[in-house]
Structures are given as structure tokens and as C-alpha cells.
Symmetry: D2
Subunit: 358 residues, 4 copies
């Protein structure tokens, strides 16, 4: 990111941690880390480490993040924040305490950093959509289509917490709450598992149970009255990373599909009918979020750059002593929605209020 953006601080890549000694040394060398380690706890004791980026499965987020915050390290934690609301609450509290000491924490909802979606947020903030009526969000992948695909950690509840709900649905919930700057207040939903048994990773002759959802669908009501439909699945043949969101308001609409991540569709209902129409904004102009630092117009960005932007924002927040966004409280709010969906699903999909408040 330092090659693209003017940063208020120059980050150094100190030490890469992992469980498998060989692999972590190899990867550290490849990616330019100064050192490698298989003991994250000792790393937290080091004085030359100021920032920790947690990229583990959800079951270890809480322990690592809270230890790191306690050790005075700034923390960027992969999404979803945790595997349960209880953990997420503890993490948010820890982050609150840390913030009072000048230590920052952020959740890795990287899709907020797609320039087209940052632009979407700006347009909504400016009131270009008027009163929001509808949010229509889908995250469609197809990598589980093959019933012989192996039972990785993502399909085991004890590691991943949930399936499509926490992996994909979490992004949708965060994005919707970010774009509208409103929380979801109640949901009704379902989760389903299409293929109940899959071959083990280490022994393809044997199978084990899939303990997470393959797909989830839920309806939501936002604080401001808007209605939302959400769907996440790993069984949508041909949709590879189809994170789509459409928002309809009284003054306009927005639509986005990550598979065309440099484009935002915008309809301005205040224009005359003669020339009104969804416009395809190619979000690569210098005036667009993050783009001032990049290429000339039309020279499109890719998935990778969402992480570049995320780190740039995190480093900037640390240097400027501001709260990064999304903070752990935002991560907790997402967790509460996911939890409410699961509880609704367990109660014949009836409406469930989302716990907690903003």
C-alpha cells in the first residue's frame, strides 16, 4: 500500500505466524516477512510488533484478538468477528478498553473498500437515494456443487461457526448496514444443508457430517423502515463470487455485482423520464474513493486492492488516532444479526428482534 498511497506511517512486515513451522517459514520468505514463528503468544511479547493482523478461522479470533489488545497491539481481525455473540461481545468490550488507551481494532470486512461500494455509501449519505425502501443482497458461489468436494474446516461448525451464513452472509449484513448507515432490527430466516456428508480431507474414502449451512435466506427490517432480502449460498452454479446488492429508495437506486467490481449502477429518479436510466459508473475516476492514488480512468482494480485499501485505512486510523471503521462494535452488530437468523431458523422462521443496540 505504501507504493500507492501516501501513508502517515511506514509499516514493516515483522513476523508471520502459523501452526506449521515449515510452511510458515516458506511463506514468510516468499512474501517478504522478516521472520517467521509458530508461536503467536511469544510474538505478542515483542516490543517491535505494534500491529497484529488475524487471519485464522473464527474459533481462534477471540483469544488471539483479546490477548493482542491486552498486550497493547492494534488489531485487524478477519471477519466474521467471532463464532458467537458471546465471544464477539467480549471482543468488543476489549476493543473499547483498548481504544481508551490509544489502541485500535478493526474487522476485515474488505468489501467496504471496493471503490464502487465506497462510492455507493457516499451517494446514499448525500441523500441521492431518498428514503430507502428495499435492500436486495445476494452472495452466490458454487464451489460446493460437487458432492465429492472435501469436508474442509469451512464445513465444520466447531471451526467456522457457520457456513454460508457466517462466511458470505456476514459480508452482506455488514455491507447493508454500512451502506445505509442503519442497523437491521429484526429478521426472519432459514438455513439449509443440501449435502449432509462429505469426504474427509485426509481420507477421501471416509466421510464426515457437514455441520454448517450450505445456504441461508433471510428477510430483514432496518431501523429506518427499509425491507431487506438476503441470500447466501455455495450452490449457485456459475456464480463464482457473485456478491450483489441492489438498493431502492424514493429518489433513486443503486446496484452492484462484485464480478464486475469496478462498476456501480446508479438510477437517479429525479431526472426527467426522457433520459433517466441506470448508469454504469466505472468507479475508476480520480474523484472516486481511493482512486486518486491509482491509474488513469478505466484501468481497473482487482480483488487484491480491497485489502490494500483496508490496510491503508487501518494504518491511517492508527497514525491519526481515530477509530477505524468497521470497528469491533460493528463486527458485533453483524454477529447479532447472524445469531438472530439462526434463532429464527430454529423457530419456524418467525420474526426475531436483533439483540443489543448500536
Amino acid at each position: 500500500m505504501g507504493r500507492v498511497f501516501d501513508l502517515p506511517a511506514r509499516p514493516e512486515m515483522v513476523v508471520l505466524c502459523g501452526r506449521r513451522k515449515d510452511a510458515v517459514h516458506q511463506d514468510a520468505a516468499r512474501h517478504g516477512w522478516r521472520e517467521a514463528s509458530d508461536d503467536w503468544k511469544s510474538v505478542l511479547l515483542r516490543d517491535d510488533v505494534h500491529v497484529v493482523d488475524i487471519c485464522t478461522p473464527g474459533d481462534s479470533h477471540a483469544e488471539i484478538a483479546m490477548s493482542a489488545l491486552e498486550a497493547g497491539k492494534h488489531v485487524l481481525c478477519e471477519k466474521p468477528l467471532a463464532n458467537s455473540v458471546a465471544e464477539a461481545e467480549l471482543m468488543a468490550e476489549a476493543a473499547d478498553r483498548a481504544r481508551r488507551g490509544g489502541i485500535q481494532a478493526m474487522v476485515g470486512f474488505n468489501y467496504r473498500r471496493v471503490p464502487a461500494l465506497s462510492l455507493a455509501r457516499e451517494l446514499i449519505e448525500q441523500g441521492r437515494l431518498g428514503t430507502i425502501r428495499h435492500v436486495r443482497a445476494q452472495y452466490l458461489q458454487d464451489w460446493l456443487l460437487d458432492p465429492q468436494a472435501p469436508l474442509t474446516w469451512r464445513l465444520r461448525a466447531e471451526r467456522a461457526g457457520s457456513g454460508a451464513l457466517g462466511d458470505l452472509g456476514a459480508h452482506l449484513v455488514d455491507l447493508a448496514q454500512f451502506l445505509l448507515d442503519e442497523d437491521i432490527v429484526s429478521v426472519c430466516g432459514l438455513v439449509d444443508t443440501f449435502v449432509a456428508e462429505r469426504p474427509l480431507v485426509d481420507d477421501a474414502q471416509r466421510t464426515g457430517p457437514v455441520t454448517v449451512d450450505d445456504a441461508t435466506m433471510f428477510t430483514a427490517r432496518f431501523g429506518g423502515g427499509a425491507l431487506g432480502t438476503f441470500e447466501a449460498t455455495r450452490y449457485a452454479a456459475g456464480r463464482k463470487n457473485g456478491l450483489r446488492i441492489e438498493i431502492n429508495g424514493s429518489a433513486g437506486s443503486l446496484a452492484f455485482d462484485f464480478e464486475s467490481m469496478n462498476e456501480l449502477s446508479f438510477y437517479d429518479a429525479t431526472e426527467g423520464a426522457e433520459t433517466a436510466g441506470f448508469r454504469r459508473i466505472l468507479a475508476t475516476e480520480a474523484d472516486h474513493p481511493y482512486l486518486g492514488a491509482w491509474y488513469p480512468p478505466g484501468h481497473v482494480l482487482g480483488y487484491e486492492h480491497t485489502f490494500t485499501h483496508q490496510l491503508r485505512d487501518f494504518v491511517t486510523a492508527i497514525a491519526e488516532r481515530t477509530t477505524p471503521s468497521p470497528d469491533f462494535a460493528a463486527g458485533l452488530r453483524v454477529q447479532r444479526v447472524l445469531d438472530a437468523v439462526q434463532r429464527s431458523a430454529a423457530h419456524h422462521s418467525r420474526w426475531i428482534p436483533v439483540g443489543g443496540g448500536r
Copy 2:
């Protein structure tokens, strides 16, 4: 239709009925009807009328359709079949009785006759999608965006039965059941009204209550296990007639949007990854449904032609003494789904089984 298709019978346009004498005479002249009348009951007594096409609001479908069937007239009835399940059941029974006497009845779900959607049905029947996992159906319009739009009959429950649900949602439900050749067995859903009062048609200074839904969203489970999400609204800014449906199966996917009605997107998951991709089938080839009678490839059809095809199929069914599709039983099955959505909405959106059977 007789100018395009080789029909087994030559229909004649005998008499146009309506409530307002002047208007109906004017329209009859304009559209080539031999006569006009403001008394539909007397028309049913005529020997030279063999087919009745009912295009009235939903509150009069049952009476007219049952009278016509009793009088031995073949009946094409506008959708939704009725304003209640009770009416629809009576109509389906009447149609059953009539059929035994060689009299046919059909419901006007014209979107089945979009060639791209007829083709979709064929591909699913051929097994090109494998086991269906997901149906994603939306019908998006925006003509109620303006809160000063008048309180027409479509916004009054006593005439229209329901709002977006019966007007738009009915098409989605019929299409989904048609395409999958499966019924929806249970639903959970909601209905909502965004603008509660609107100016009267006859006196814009006064307002009256909107008594139908502005939008509806529901989740459905099909007989074969597929999950469906449905949404219909008149508040989706910029979506003019956005009837969209996407279906994902274990072997492929289909997607359609009426605003590009000549196109069907098809993904074949059995192809090699190198060249697999959603293909835009321009459904204008001689091999496509209905197209053998039309123009050379690429010379696209319009909305109007869905009705041409509908009448062609109806006239053919009458002449060949086969049951037209969708018959009143299919219309009743749609009505039961709509009714279940309303009941679910009234019970905190909890799952409700759809009554009746196929």
C-alpha cells in the same frame, strides 16, 4: 395470431363488453370487434359466441367465468384467477365440470409465453439443470414511487384482492411452478404498505386509504426440496417491468429478466471450466418455442407477442380438445400460495404449509 401462426381454427372477434357504453363502442370500432355491449350476461346467451376472454379486475372473475363456463363458453381468464382461495376453488371445480363437457378454461399467465421462458422450461424438463437448489424471483416496478400517484382500483383490496402480491407475485409463483413443474409446499413471508393514503382518482384534493400491499417478500420451499426467494414491489426506482428469475441446479443455472425479454442466460456446469460461462441465448431462432412462425433470428419480439402466443395456444387447445395450460387448477395453486403468504405475514412470518394439493 392468425397472421403469424397456422391455426386449427379461425377466431372471429364478435363482441366487446364493458361497463361504459360510449367507451366500449369506441374501443370495439378501433380494435376491429364486430359489436359492442355493456351487458355481459346477454352476451353469454348468444350462440355465435364460443369463447370468452375475461379482462376485468379480480373481484368479478369468479362470477363471469363460472357463468360463461355454465353457458358452454370456453374461458380465458386474466390472472390472478380470483381474489380468494374460496372463489378460485369454485372456479376450478366449474372448469373441471366444463372440461368433461369439452369446454376449456385457461388463466392468462402470459409470461409463460415469452419464448425465452418457454425455452427455460424445456431445458429444465430435459434435466439440463440437474437437481434444482434455488429459485430467485423478483418482480420490480416503480410506478408508485410518487406518493401523489392516485388511488386506482389496483390499490383497493375489494377490487384487486391484493397489491404487488396478486398483481406481480402471482406471475412469479406461476412461473416458478411452471418452470420447475413442481408446487410450492410451504412459505414464510411478509407484506408491507409504504404509503398508507393516496389522492382519490376522482377528487385529488381528498385522499383514501391504500388497502393492499405495496411490496411483498417471501421464502418458499418446493415439493422437490428447492428453496425459493420471492419479492414483488412497485417501489423499485428505475425498474420498470423487472420480472427476473434465476434458477440454480446441480448441473446448471438459468437467468432471465423481462426487460431483456428475448434473452435467456444459461450456465452449463457440465462443461469444462475453460469455456464454461453464462451464455446469452437470444431466443429468436426457428428452433425456439413459437419462433418458427416469426422473423429471422435476431429480429426480436415484444410484450404484445406473449398474448399472441397465449391465444394461439388457447385456440389450439380448444380445437384439439386438449386441456390448455395453465388451467384453472394451476390458477388455484397460485392462489393458495398467495393466501399462505398472507397468512404467514399475519403470523410473524412463520412457515405456513400451502393448502390443497396438485
Copy 3:
């Protein structure tokens, strides 16, 4: 058209003419003509025939059109106007004479009547594109891909005049001149024939020479300084009726593809960069050309309706005693461009001025 539009006159379908007696009687009955005839000359003598619509191959346009005009009949002539500039000049002169007697003549460039393209013309007239710099026009079909496709009249110069040039290129030239309201003043171009011999229509065992072009490409300069590239082919695999035109000006751009005939893409370069983008105008609003008479927004039109609009405009011009557009002079201007392309092709593609003037 009378069922859709309020016409100043009520046309009657009097007599259908054709060469093959049986076929013409059958077609007349099917399409609602009162009579049929295989003798067009006698038809021109009738007092109850006031309008003649010529749909024959190009080699008979001149004779029929001039006879009809002389007989005092209004004439709508299929495009291209003629098979040579010489014929077209005679026809334009005849039309001029006839006009002075209140008799109108029009050429059937039906694509002008696509609402999205009529709208394009309006936007350009309003100055929304500023100074036009580029016209990029392609007409892509693929029906000659198969080298065994038969040698129909369209592939014989003595009947059709030329191939892709006159059949497809003529539409492009007329459209471009219509949209810019400027004439092409010079061209450089080429014509090519990929498959030189094809099976005879009547005897597939024998072949005959293809005497027209399979494809043509030409560059053009407009009176106002804009540059144009034109291409027409019957060998563009997968393009069925791909009439596409894009126009770039100093203040904006327009793009159109007939395969999505209800859509016009419009870019307004005077907008702020934040939200500028090509907008997809769905040309189905009541404010759009011709649409006031049709369906609600989003209920799209088809190919057929270009002819409905064409006849509506012709009948209106006749009734209102105004010159219809495009008149024969416009048809002649197209012919001159086609002729210049052929002459350039015969002279190593060097620039050739287009003869005549406006």
C-alpha cells in the same frame, strides 16, 4: 397501427400483389387483404387504391415506384431505394414531381422508427452530444456462415444490386445520416466475397456464382467533420441482427444495439465525474417517441413495431400533406454513398467524394 395510434385517416387493405397466383391469394386471405392480384400494373389503374407499398427486390423498385407515382399513388418503397444511382435519381425526380401534385413517397428505412433511435436523434438535435467526432456503425449477421446455404436472390447482383452493402450497409448509412442530420461527403472502403460459389436454390447438386459482396467495410467523413467507420457482414458468428451504432461527441456519447432494441445507452460528459456513466435508457416511457400510444414502461416492443411506426408516420404525412421522412431524396443520398463505396473498392480503397448534394 390504427389499433394503437390515433390516425388522421383509416387505411384499408385493398389488394395484395405478387407473382405467384396461389401464394398471393393464400397470403391475402391470411393477412386480411380484401383481394389478391398477380398483375401490379392493373392495380395501379384502380381508383380505390391510393397508396402502394413496394416490397419487391431492388431490381423492380424503379419501375413500380415511378409507375405508381405517375398514376397518382402515394408510394412507400422498401430499401435500398434502387440498385443503382441512376435509377435512384430518376425515382427521386419522379417523387419530386409527384410531391408538387400532393403525392408522397417514402423509403422503408424502418430502423429510424425504433423508439430508442428516434430518441437518439432527438438528443443529438438538442445538442446533448456537442460536436460529433465519431460514428461507429456495424451491422452483423451470420446467416451465410454455412457455405452450403443456397444461392438466393439476395446473393445475385442482378436482383439485389449488392449484398451486405445494400442490404445491411444501407441501413447504417441512412441511420447515421438521419441521426447526425448530416451527409457523408467522402468514403474509402472495400467489399469482399468469402464464399464464391453456392448451391442453387432449385437444384442443390449444382452451384452458381455469388455475385454480391459478403461483407463491406468503409470509412467515411461527414459534412460536419465527424469520422465514421462502417461494417456490414453476414459472417459474424453469433450476431443475429446486430445493428449497432455508437456516436461520440464533445459533450456526450450514444450507443445502440438492435438485439436489445428497447435500450439506448447515453453518456453525458457534462456531468460530474463522480456519477457520470453510460446510462441504459429503457426507451419505453410515455415521453419517448411513439411510446405514448403503447404499454406501461418496461413492457418492451419488438421488430414488428418498427413497421407499425413507419406506416403511422407515412399515413400521417399523407393525411397532413407533409413530406414524409425519409423521402426518396434521402434514399438517393444513401444510394450515392453505397455507390461511392463500390467505386472506392474498385480503386484500391482510395478516398472518393460522394456525388450529388443535399
Copy 4:
């Protein structure tokens, strides 16, 4: 690139050269170069420099590249290879000599490295398009729309050689020759300059003459008989980096637009008409060129990655002692086509054979 690909060698970033001492030191620090220098000749004397990447304007390519090759450095040279055929010939000869000594030279036509376009080349090589009939290539930008945009080096012939022709057209020519694996053998074309004077970079109150073309259009014939139309412009309002190419063959078609760089459209004409259609291949599968090293499907790449791929291929060629592609001979072939276009433009656009041979 070493973080993504397994490379046969580990490149080190030794020294960044530039004319302005301060700027080059700043940039070197920012981008991770060990040293900075404003004297490229001294750099060529260093033993620890083995590879030279030339990113200067075209007027210095020849001198630097030939000096570097002579000094035994591998050379990657920005496109177009040179500002004249004479220079390019000398460079190609120098590269030939160097190659015999194990020193490699390559031209930076980075768009060959867009995965979707590498895939296009593979499909054509496999014969999936049959006999190629048409190439339709456009490179559309709009950054000169504003007549007050300054007179940068790109608008001065003595630095840039030509304008849209060499900057944009060169990419099109290389891509077309790469995709078809055929050379263009003759062309007819034109160049034009819309805005003749522009404000000076250093003194906006004064203007200077634009000495390059703003736009170019040319028609080409390939060795195998295919016809091509080419157009490059900086005045296509709303097109930001619209490098588009469509290729039609007897068995299929391909289409690409860089603004959606992860997508390739492919039409297979050997499929049945029922399901044939242009498929949108999202070129992000592990089976696609370069993609095995990147993210899961659907996690799209950006402009930057074309350079990552280019360097990966160059480093691999050096390590494996194979000739990289495109080599300087390929760069020369492009130069000859550009030169022929300029000569044709100077001779009333008449057909000009492209000099040299493969």
C-alpha cells in the same frame, strides 16, 4: 510477482533511473528500489544489473535498448518499440545478435497478459473459431475531450512518434497479430487531429501545435485472408480504457472489452441453435492462463496484474533461456503496420502493403 508465482529466479530491484534527481530518489524509496540514479549509461556498466526495463517515451527506446543489449543486459522495452521503422529494425537486429549470446529482449505489450486474452489466443489456436473472417478492434479513450487539456509529451511527434496510433493502435495491432498468430499484410487508413493547438504544460497562457494524431482508423487484411477494422481515439466520450476486440470465424466468435477485463465472450457456432449463445467466461478459474497462482474463482484481477504476468513471463524466459514473446521482431512487425497506416493516410488512404515479412 514472486509473491504470487513460483519463479525460476528471484529478481532484485537494484536501481531506478530517471532524469530528475529528486524525483527518482523519492520514487526509488517509495517503490523499494535499492538505489536511484539519473545517469542510465553508468547503470549499464554495473555488474549487478542484469535486466533493464525501459519505460521512457518512444524517442529514447532505440538508444537505451541497443546500449543495454550491447552491455549484455536483458531488455524489456515499453511499447511501441520505437518511433520509426528504421529504429525498430536496428533494435530487432540488435536483439537478434544479443539472443545468440543468451541475452533476451521483449516488448511490453502487456494486454497479451490479460488472462481473458491469453485464453482467447488458446481457443483460436485450438481451432475453436475455424477460419477467421473478421477482426474488429477499437481502443477508445476520452482524456482529450477537453480542448484545454495540456500539450503533454504524448501530443508531440518528436517525443511520442505518433498519437492514438502508436499509443493505442499499437496495442490493437499487436493483440490482433498475437491472437490470430498471423500478420497484417496490407492496410488502408487515415489519421486525424481534431484539436490543433493546446495550452503548454509549463505555461497555460500560451499554446503550441499538436503534432500527433488524435484518432486513427484503418482497415487491414491478414495473411490468412481475414479482414480487420481498427480504430483508436482519445475522443470517445465516456470510454475510459475501452480496448475492445471481436473476432468472427467460421466456427465461432470471441469478444472482449478491457473495461470488463476478467470476461471473455465466446460463441461456439458448432453448438445446436437451441442453446447456442455468447457465453461470458469469467476468466478466473484455476484452468485459465495465469490463474492457477491467484485467488479462488470470481475474485477478479486488475490492470496491475497484466504487468505482474508480463514480468513473470520475462523472468521465466531469461531463466529458461527461451525467447520471450513478444520479442523485438514482433515489435517491429507492429511498427511496420503503424508505418503503413501513416503512409496510406498520406496517399488518400489507398491500400499499402506492410513492409518486411515474418
